[in-house]
C-alpha cells in the first residue's frame, strides 16, 4: 500500500505524480487565496534547501500540502535559473528522500527504485562477512548511480558482483536511490519554463536575491592570488573546477583539494571561498574541515595532500596513465611546473603526516 504519508515522503515518486495529476490543478489556480499556504510551503522548501541544505519537516496532517508543494517548489527553482542553487535544492530533496527510505520497509524501497526510477533490482537476502545484503542491483544501473560517488567502498571492484548483479544492503540501495532522485530533479530543472507567471514574481525574485547574498559578494571564478591554474595537475584541476562550479565533491576529494591549496600557499579564507558554490556548502563545516587540515584543530598536524597512488585508489586520478610523466605526487607536479625547487616553505611543513583515512579527518 502506498498511502498519503508515503506520497508526502516521496513526492517525486510515480505514485505522487499520478496523485497530483488526478487533482487536475491548473497554474492559474495557484494564484488564488486558497493556495497561499501551499505556495508558502513551496517557498519554504526552496529557502530551506538554499540556506540550510535541508527541506523543513512537515507537520502530520498536512500531507496534502507537502505533496503539492513539491512540484511548485520545482517550478520556483526552475524560474530562479541558477544552476548552483538548483543543485543545492536537488541535493536537499534527495537527502530528504534518503532519510525516509533508509527507515522504510523493503517493499517501499523496491517499489520506489523500480517503479519510479526503473532500476533493475532483485531481492537477495544473503549474509557475507557479517553484512546482510538484502538486494541486488544490475551492474549497469549500479555504475550509473555510483558515477559521482567517490568513496572507495562504491568502487565496483570492492563489491560482490555475480552474473551481472551487485549485492547491496538496504541502506546502500537507499543511498543509490538518493542519487536517482538528485539526477531526476536536475533533469527536470534543466528544461526551463517559458515565461514567469505574474503572481510568482515576488517569490522568485526573493529567492534570486537570496541566492546572490548566499553566494557572497563576489563571484568566485577568478583564481585566488598565488594559485597558478596552468600548473595544476589534472586531478586537482578537475576537483578545483568541480568546486567552483558547484559540483559535489567526495570527502576525500575535498581533503585532497584543500590540502593541495594549503600546500600551494593559499590562506584559509581563500580556500573556504573556493568551496562556496558547492551544492552542499555548509560554511561552518567547511571552515572546521579547512582549519583541521591546516592543523589548527584536532591533532594539530598539518596534513599533506595525498600522493598519486592514494588519489588513484579513491578514483580521483583523472589522467590516463603516464600523462603526468612518472610523477608520484600532485604537489610535485605543481612544483615542477612552477619550476620551483623542492624547498620547504615558510609556514612549516615540518609536522607533516601521512594522509589520514577518509573516515577520520572530518
Amino acid at each position: 500500500m502506498f498511502g498519503k504519508i508515503d506520497l508526502a515522503k516521496y513526492p517525486f515518486s510515480a505514485e505522487a505524480a499520478e496523485y497530483i495529476k488526478s487533482k487536475g490543478l491548473m497554474l492559474e489556480d495557484l494564484a488564488s487565496q486558497e493556495f497561499r499556504p501551499i505556495l508558502a510551503k513551496a517557498e519554504e522548501r526552496a529557502r530551506g534547501a538554499m540556506l540550510e541544505g535541508r527541506i523543513p519537516e512537515w507537520r502530520r496532517g498536512e500531507e496534502e500540502m507537502e505533496i503539492i508543494s513539491y512540484p511548485i517548489a520545482l517550478m520556483l527553482m526552475s524560474l530562479v535559473r541558477d544552476q548552483g542553487v538548483q543543485r543545492r535544492f536537488a541535493l536537499a530533496e534527495a537527502k530528504r528522500a534518503y532519510g525516509f527510505l533508509r527507515e522504510d520497509s523493503s517493499e517501499k524501497i523496491l517499489r520506489i527504485g523500480e517503479g519510479t526510477f526503473g532500476m533493475r533490482i532483485r531481492t537477495a537476502g544473503e549474509s557475507r562477512s557479517n553484512r546482510f545484503y538484502e538486494f541486488e542491483l544490475y551492474f549497469a544501473d549500479y555504475l550509473k548511480d555510483t558515477a559521482s560517488l567517490r568513496h572507495g567502498k562504491w568502487k565496483l571492484c570492492n563489491r560482490i558482483l555475480s552474473s551481472g548483479w551487485v549485492s547491496l544492503t538496504r541502506e546502500e540501495l537507499a543511498r543509490l536511490i538518493q542519487e536517482e532522485v538528485y539526477r531526476r530533479i536536475l533533469e527536470r530543472l534543466s528544461t526551463p519554463i517559458d515565461g514567469e507567471p505574474e503572481f510568482l514574481k515576488p517569490i522568485v525574485s526573493g529567492l534570486r536575491g537570496l541566492a546572490e547574498s548566499a553566494r557572497g559578494t563576489a563571484e568566485y571564478l577568478e583564481a585566488p592570488k598565488g594559485l597558478i591554474l596552468e600548473a595544476m595537475p589534472p586531478c586537482i584541476k578537475s576537483l578545483y573546477e568541480g568546486a567552483i562550479h558547484g559540483r559535489n565533491i567526495s570527502h576525500m576529494g575535498r581533503f585532497a583539494l584543500t590540502a593541495f591549496l594549503a600546500g600551494a600557499g593559499l590562506g584559509e579564507e581563500d580556500i573556504i571561498r573556493v568551496f562556496q558554490s558547492s551544492a552542499d556548502f555548509d560554511g561552518r563545516k567547511t571552515k572546521y574541515q579547512v582549519e583541521h587540515i591546516f592543523g589548527l584543530r584536532g591533532s594539530r598536524i598539518r596534513y599533506k595532500p595525498p600522493k598519486c597512488d592514494t588519489m588513484r585508489t579513491h578514483g580521483l586520478c583523472v589522467g590516463p596513465e603516464g600523462e603526468c610523466g612518472g610523477i608520484r605526487h600532485p604537489m610535485a607536479y605543481y612544483e615542477r611546473r612552477l619550476g620551483m625547487r623542492r624547498t620547504r616553505r615558510a609556514g612549516g611543513t615540518e609536522a607533516v603526516k601521512a594522509t589520514p583515512s577518509p573516515d577520520r579527518d572530518g
Binding site: 557475507r128 562477512s129 557479517n130 551492474f139 549497469a140 555504475l143 550509473k144 555510483t146 558515477a147 572507495g152 567502498k153 568502487k155 565496483l156 571492484c157 570492492n158 563489491r159 560482490i160 558482483l161 555475480s162 552474473s163 551481472g164 548483479w165 588513484r312 585508489t313 579513491h314 578514483g315 590516463p320 596513465e321
Partner: protein, 411 residues
C-alpha cells in the same frame, strides 16, 4: 635498407594485400550497423590516416579495399548518426565495449629472446629497450617488438581469463562476445549488447578497474588483516572467490623464489614453505588466520598484492575507455605482419593457432632477409637468418617484408 629496396618491399606487400582483397576475402566480417560506423585506413608508404570515412554497404567497403588496397583497415567501436562528420558533430549513439590484450604488456620471458632495440648512435641490444642508450645516453630508443607462439599463448590465456570474468561476474553471454586475433601481438574482444552500448567513459573505467583490480580493497572481500570469521572460499562469487583461489595457488605452487618475488620476508617464506600442506588445507576450509599470522601484516599485504596481480586481467585501459576508438576491421590484413585479423570462435579460443589460422597465403616467395630472429610459424621453425636469400612460405615472407627485415629478391 635503401630507397630502391624499400620501394620493392612496398610494391611486394601491396601486391600480396591486393591479391588477398581481390579473392574474397572470406574472413571479412562486416561490422553490424555498418552505415553508422566510421572507418579509417592507412596506406603503404603514406604517413597519414584516412579517417571519418563511411560506407553504406558491405559491397561498397569491399570495393574500396580492392581499389585502394590499404595497409591497415579500422572501424569505430562506436555508432554515430553521421559517421563522416567531424568528431564533435558525429552524434555519438553508443559504442561496443572493447578490450585489447597485447602480449607486449605481459612481460613474457620470451620478450628478452626476440625483442630488440636500436639507438640512432648505432648501438643495439636485445630485450625491451632501456630508458636511455647505455652507449650515448640518448632517450627514446627505437623498439622492435617481435612475437612468437609463447607470448601469444600468454595473451590467449589472458583473453580466456577476461572472458571468464565477463561471463561469471558481469553475466555477459558468449553470443555477446566476439574475439579476434589482432594479426600481430594480441587479441581483441568486442562485447555488443544493449546494456553496454550506452555506457559512458567513467562507467567503462570502473569496469576496467574491476578487471585489473585497480583501487581494490581486499578487506571489502573478507581478507582483512585482522578479525575473525571464516576466510572466503575459492568458490565464492566475484573477487572474493578469485582472490581466495589465487592465494591457494600461491600456497600450492609458489617456490621460495616466487614467494620472494611477491615481497615476502625470509621468515614468512620459511613458514609458508614448511607449513605449506596444512596451510593450504586450512585455507580451503576457510581457516585463513594461520596464514595471516605466519605471514605477518606486511607479508599478508604482499600476498594479497600478489593474488590481485595473479587474478586480474592485463588489458589496455585506454582502448576500453575511449568512446571513439578505431579498431581493426576483422578479416582485414595487419600491415605490420600481413597476417589476417581473424575471428576466433569463442568455443575454440583454446585451439586457436595464430600463425597457422591467420596465414592468408599459400605458395612460396623468394626474399632476401637482412636479419631475423628464429621464428616459429604454424609448427614450423624458420631462421634465424642473416643476409641471405631464401624461399619461404608466402605468409612468412610477407611477415618479414612487412617487418622491414627483408625485401623481395630480384633475380
Amino acid at each position: 635498407m635503401d630507397e630502391r629496396k624499400r620501394a620493392l618491399s612496398i610494391s611486394f606487400a601491396k601486391r600480396k594485400f591486393g591479391e588477398y582483397y581481390a579473392r574474397g576475402p572470406t574472413q571479412l566480417r562486416v561490422p553490424s550497423e555498418l552505415a553508422r560506423r566510421e572507418f579509417g585506413f592507412l596506406f603503404f608508404g603514406e604517413k597519414f590516416m584516412l579517417r571519418h570515412k563511411g560506407f553504406s554497404s558491405g559491397e561498397e567497403l569491399i570495393a574500396f579495399l580492392r581499389e585502394r588496397v590499404p595497409s591497415d583497415a579500422y572501424h569505430s567501436t562506436a555508432i554515430y548518426r553521421d559517421p563522416e562528420a567531424e568528431m564533435e558533430r558525429k552524434g555519438w549513439l553508443g559504442a561496443e565495449l572493447c578490450f585489447d590484450i597485447d602480449a607486449d604488456r605481459l612481460d613474457a620471458p620470451c620478450k628478452f629472446e626476440h625483442d630488440r632495440w636500436a639507438c640512432a648512435c648505432g648501438a643495439t641490444g636485445s630485450g625491451p629497450a632501456p630508458r636511455a642508450c647505455p652507449k650515448c645516453g640518448a632517450e627514446g630508443l627505437r623498439e622492435e617488438a617481435w612475437m612468437c607462439e609463447s607470448c601469444l599463448e600468454r595473451a590467449r590465456d589472458e583473453l580466456m581469463k577476461l572472458m571468464e570474468i565477463l561471463h561469471s561476474d558481469f553475466g555477459m553471454t558468449q553470443s555477446e562476445m566476439s574475439a579476434y586475433f589482432s594479426g600481430h601481438r594480441g587479441y581483441h574482444l568486442h562485447v555488443r549488447s544493449e546494456e553496454v552500448l550506452k555506457l559512458g567513459e567513467s562507467e567503462r573505467r570502473e569496469i576496467v578497474d574491476y578487471l585489473m583490480g585497480i583501487g581494490m580493497d581486499p578487506s571489502a572481500h573478507g581478507f582483512a588483516a585482522s578479525g575473525g570469521g571464516p576466510t572466503p572460499s575459492p568458490l565464492s562469487p566475484g573477487w572474493a572467490g578469485r582472490l581466495s583461489k589465487a592465494i591457494s595457488e600461491i600456497l600450492a605452487r609458489f617456490d621460495e623464489e616466487g614467494l620472494r618475488a611477491l615481497g615476502l620476508a625470509p621468515k614468512a617464506i620459511k613458514a609458508i614453505v614448511e607449513g605449506r600442506d596444512s596451510l593450504l588445507r586450512d585455507w580451503l576450509d576457510g581457516r585463513g588466520w594461520g596464514l595471516r599470522r605466519r605471514a605477518g601484516s606486511k607479508g599478508w599485504e604482499a600476498i594479497l598484492r600478489g593474488a590481485i596481480k595473479l587474478a586480474s586481467v592485463n588489458i589496455d585501459a585506454v582502448v576500453t575507455t575511449d568512446l571513439h576508438r578505431l579498431i581493426r576491421l576483422p578479416g582485414s590484413l595487419n600491415g605490420k605482419t600481413g597476417l589476417m585479423v581473424i575471428p576466433l570462435g569463442i568455443e575454440r579460443v583454446e585451439d586457436f593457432e595464430p600463425f597457422l589460422d591467420a596465414a592468408a597465403f599459400d605458395g612460396e616467395e623468394r626474399i632476401h632477409v637482412i636479419e631475423a630472429p628464429k621464428l616459429k610459424l604454424g609448427g614450423q621453425s624458420f631462421g634465424p637468418y642473416e643476409d641471405e636469400t631464401v624461399d619461404l612460405p608466402a605468409s612468412v615472407a610477407l611477415l618479414l617484408v612487412c617487418k622491414g627485415k627483408a625485401y623481395p629478391a630480384v633475380d
